[in-house]
Symmetry: C2
Subunit: 102 residues, 2 copies
């Protein structure tokens, strides 16, 4: 069975939800990793030092805010950054966040 995951359309994305989703060190590390990996990746491969259920929670927060797109692939879920949507809605925001060294 394929689970279809809900994603906000571009015009449903809200800045406060995006900022909240990004305002967490673990989620920020996920976003940085995805920014370096255009084809997407299973966040489970990242060494984030959190449990699987915590990781699931973080990825869901990013997905529901419109920051990442998640597609099932076999038993994995592949996440990609919604860079086009974020750059169109908030030009500069993502680059500014990714430029942050701290």
């Amino acid at each position: 069975m394929t689970t279809t995951l809900a994603h906000p359309a571009r015009d449903e994305i809200r800045i406060t939800s995006v900022l909240h989703a990004l305002a967490d060190p673990v989620r920020l590390r996920i976003v940085r990793a995805l920014a370096d990996c255009e084809q997407g990746l299973s966040c489970g491969v990242l060494d984030l030092g959190v449990t699987a259920s915590t990781l699931t929670h973080h990825v869901r927060t990013l997905r529901e805010a419109g920051v990442v797109h998640v597609r099932p692939q076999g038993t994995s879920r592949i996440s990609t950054l919604r860079r086009d949507d974020l750059d169109a809605l908030y030009p500069g925001l993502l680059d500014g966040v990714l430029a942050a060294r701290r």
Copy 2:
């Protein structure tokens, strides 16, 4: 008596604190108003629909994150946006946030 308010130095500002501070509709309205008013203003003049104590809390959150600078002026406190610091640390971020229509 002059109350000196604590502000993080530029190199003490952290992206997660800035994003958290911005991820609130009232605080975002304060930031938008300050972006339009370079000389700064007393946030009490803004019609934000919140109590004085709630406003104080929001301004403190912005100040402690390094988003605004607050200086006492008589019985008021004048807030200014720390645009130079934010633009230097996170180029594009503030413009992206201010560009947001939703």
